[in-house]
């Protein structure tokens, strides 16, 4: 009798707690698809534009959009936790194809969109540039739709160049000479990202322009090559010799951009998609005098990266994939892409770039620099591996060594060994 009542109470308690969980978990996630599409986006200019347009989508489809907006790092952490747990709480997710694409693809976190992108000729997947499409594809399956593309360009101060009687540098040597001439106690000749991991993407264009890459054709580490060593020494040397005083080794783009827009540097190499920060008078003291040029040519020519920095994907565990696709199709339509591009977000659609309206809001020199860079661009800006975070730290080590005046060549050799070990481990 006694035992039976214990069992009975336990059963009631269990039923009760299950009932409670069912209440708590209610809402979306049902397999037939909910009317609410849960969208997770990063803080970005693109997001601001789409946020304002969402009521349009809700009106035309009758669906409701539940938006979560997070900073880049918080977004990554959310995905790590939720996708790892197989959560169905996210339907549409903004992700970085080059940073997370391979890992998410391998882990089966993303829904295969291959048939979805092919089915609608009006929406037109063929309109997307090759590089971005390649980066959003994993093992021949389309995993995401790119929304923002980026190339590295040279930001410079027209007034300082004029005062020094200099032309816009076309080669790395000219860049160094100009930075040297302009550098003074108040103004740095050159500024760029300095953080071990964050600088890697911007350093990559220097690496390519000096004739190097992170890996060679056989997939072996190439960060110890002569070309790479020269690139490390050059990038770090520019910052060490002509960079801001008290330069830290933690700068990502917000810090480096702040130095440039405060009028404290003459040259700055950065992604073109961030140009509004420099030309918007509300954010920049030098808005009137900023000029843009293609990345100066190194020994191997001018080879900036040309990549899709963000894309939209569907969570494999989402029970609302059809509605999620409706959202993506709307958010990446030609009209929306044109709108976004006019608001300062370089898009991945070829037709928008060939449409004069697509570049109408861009500074002329920037549009020209983008056109040149898109043509010669390299399709990646970081090592194409699964654990990108760790790889970036390894190949970024010599950048920091070079900035702090240590032996860049020795650091590159060391990084080469570590990176090769990393690649071997990953390919096991």
């Amino acid at each position: 009798m006694k035992r039976r009542s214990v069992v009975k109470y336990a059963a009631v308690a269990a039923a009760l707690s299950m009932g409670l969980t069912a209440c708590g978990g209610g809402g979306g996630g049902d397999s037939k698809g909910s009317d609410t599409v849960r969208v997770t986006l990063a803080n970005h200019v693109w997001t601001e534009g789409i946020k304002a347009a969402i009521p349009e989508f809700e009106k035309s489809t009758g669906l409701k959009v539940e938006l979560t907006q997070l900073g880049e790092d918080q977004l990554s952490d959310q995905y790590n936790v939720k996708l790892n747990a197989g959560s169905d709480e996210i339907d549409v997710m903004m992700y970085r194809p080059l940073q997370e694409g391979k890992a998410f693809g391998k882990n089966g976190y993303l829904a295969d969109l291959t048939s979805k992108v092919a089915e609608d000729a009006d929406w037109n997947w063929k309109d997307y540039q090759d590089g971005p499409v390649k980066a959003s594809t994993y093992e021949d399956k389309v995993m995401g739709v790119p929304i923002i593309t980026e190339r590295e360009v040279l930001y410079y101060r027209k007034d300082l160049l004029k005062a020094a009687g200099l032309e816009v540098p076309k080669t790395m040597e000219e860049l160094e000479a100009a930075a040297k001439k302009i550098a003074s106690t108040d103004t740095a000749g050159f500024v760029a990202r300095t953080g071990k991991s964050t600088a890697v993407t911007q350093f990559s264009s220097f690496l390519y322009s000096f004739g190097g890459d992170f890996t060679d054709e056989s997939g072996k580490s190439a960060v110890g090559s002569e070309e790479a060593k020269k690139a490390y020494a050059f990038y770090g040397g520019l910052i060490k010799n002509y960079g801001p005083k008290n330069v830290s080794t933690d700068m990502s783009w917000p810090e480096a951009m702040a130095i440039f827009t405060q009028g404290k540097a003459a040259f700055y190499t950065e992604a073109d998609s961030l140009y509004k920060n420099a030309t918007d008078p509300a954010k920049s003291k030098v808005a009137e005098t900023v000029g843009f040029a293609p990345l100066p040519a190194g020994p191997a020519g001018s080879k900036p990266y040309n990549i899709p920095s963000w894309g939209l994907a569907i969570n494999q565990s989402s029970g609302n994939q059809d509605n999620a696709w409706k959202f993506i199709k709307w958010a990446t339509s030609k009209d929306r892409t044109l709108e976004a591009q006019k608001a300062g977000v370089p898009g991945p659609r070829a037709s928008v770039w060939s449409d004069p309206a697509g570049t109408s809001t861009y500074p002329k020199d920037l549009a020209a620099a983008i056109a040149v860079s898109a043509e010669k661009g390299v399709g990646h800006d970081r090592p194409l591996v699964i654990t990108v975070g760790k790889a970036r730290e390894i190949v970024g080590e010599p950048i920091v060594a070079s900035i702090t005046g240590a032996d860049a060549s020795a650091a590159a050799d060391q990084a080469n060994t570590a990176f090769q070990k990393f690649l071997d481990d990953e390919n096991k």
């Binding site: 009798m1 996708l83 089966g108 071990k196 008290n246 933690d250 810090e255 975070g389 760790k390 920091v400």
Partner: protein, 312 residues
């Protein structure tokens, strides 16, 4: 809902009620403790056991992916890692010790000042407690702006009095002391609060007796007040020490992943976080966390031993 005939139901339900209350009476100590036990089981024992399990596997990439049992291999890897793990242990210990000593000494001084009533006491107390209510991440961001080497307020202030700009958070050697300063700024008020509560509950008589015997202020503090305050001081050290060991938000908000380009503020917490969220090496990260957990338990045990010895 089951439907029963009224005649049967009243007799049976009375019996069930009696049975239940007899049963409940016999097991009341378990019954009352049950919610807490379920809570502890779900929120403490399960995650710990899961972490322990993960630490014995080579789980990486995704925790849902297949992983192999590797025994103590992760622990071996971690314990022989002199590049990241041991320096992180060193930083964790030095961060905790230095912050703790500063906070307790400073906290005691401030608590002694606030001990005796004075005019405007309320306002001073509010002002001192302000840092305590701020979110650590916001505190981190704020100090990061203040300590920016080029456009920060701290260096501009130094410039006014003719001192050259300091690297603060950006220097390899100065970053850890700067974060310790931030921790002291934020958490000293909590120590003040605890010590003040201890001081106000002290009896006045021993102090008066010492005064009658001609002891000066220092003698009265070191030989009368401090020994009487020891249990409270140890509570303060215990609470603040565990918190300081676990510090994460201030470090992450100021130096980001990896604790900076040279891992200059990478403590065990920051290291384990990076292993999980940046490298996706869950097995290795779990091993670090288990070792860290053992360090915390160990230091707690040492302190409570000390507390018991002190109160004897």
């Amino acid at each position: 809902m089951s439907v029963l005939t009224p005649a049967r139901s009243s007799g049976q339900s009375a019996r069930t009620r009696a049975n239940f209350s007899a049963w409940a009476n016999r097991h009341r100590k378990w019954l009352f403790a049950a919610p807490a036990m379920i809570f502890v089981g779900l929120l403490i024992v399960f995650p710990l056991a899961w972490t322990l399990y993960l630490s014995l596997t080579d789980s990486q990439g995704s925790v849902r992916a297949a992983s192999d049992f590797v025994g103590f291999e992760n622990y071996l890897t971690v314990l022989t890692d002199t590049e990241r793990f041991w320096p992180a242990v060193g930083r964790t210990v030095s961060f905790t010790l230095v912050a703790l000593v500063c906070e307790v000494v400073l906290g005691m001084c401030i608590a002694l000042l606030l001990w005796r009533p004075f005019r405007g006491e309320k306002w001073v107390r509010v002002a001192i407690l302000l840092p305590l209510v701020a979110t650590p991440v916001a505190v981190g961001m704020m100090w990061r702006l203040i300590f920016d080497p080029n456009i920060g307020f701290a260096n501009q202030l130094l410039g006014l009095v003719g001192i050259p700009p300091q690297p603060w958070l950006s220097g390899q050697d100065s970053a850890l002391p700067t974060t310790i300063f931030m921790d002291v700024w934020q958490w000293t008020p909590m120590v003040v609060l605890i010590l003040l509560a201890g001081l106000t509950s002290l009896s006045e008589e021993p102090d008066e007796a010492a005064r009658m015997d001609g002891a000066n202020a220092f003698q009265r503090f070191f030989f009368v007040t401090l020994p009487l305050m020891m249990p409270t001081v140890i509570v303060a050290i215990l609470l603040r020490g565990i918190d300081a060991l676990k510090t994460f938000d201030i470090l992450y908000a100021t130096k980001g992943k990896g604790g900076g380009s040279f891992h200059e503020v990478e403590t065990l917490n920051v290291y384990a976080y990076g292993l999980s969220f940046d490298y996706n090496q869950y097995g290795l990260s779990s091993a670090v966390l288990i070792l860290f957990f053992m360090i915390i338990i160990g230091s707690m045990w040492l302190l409570t031993m000390r507390k018991k010895a002190g109160s004897k």
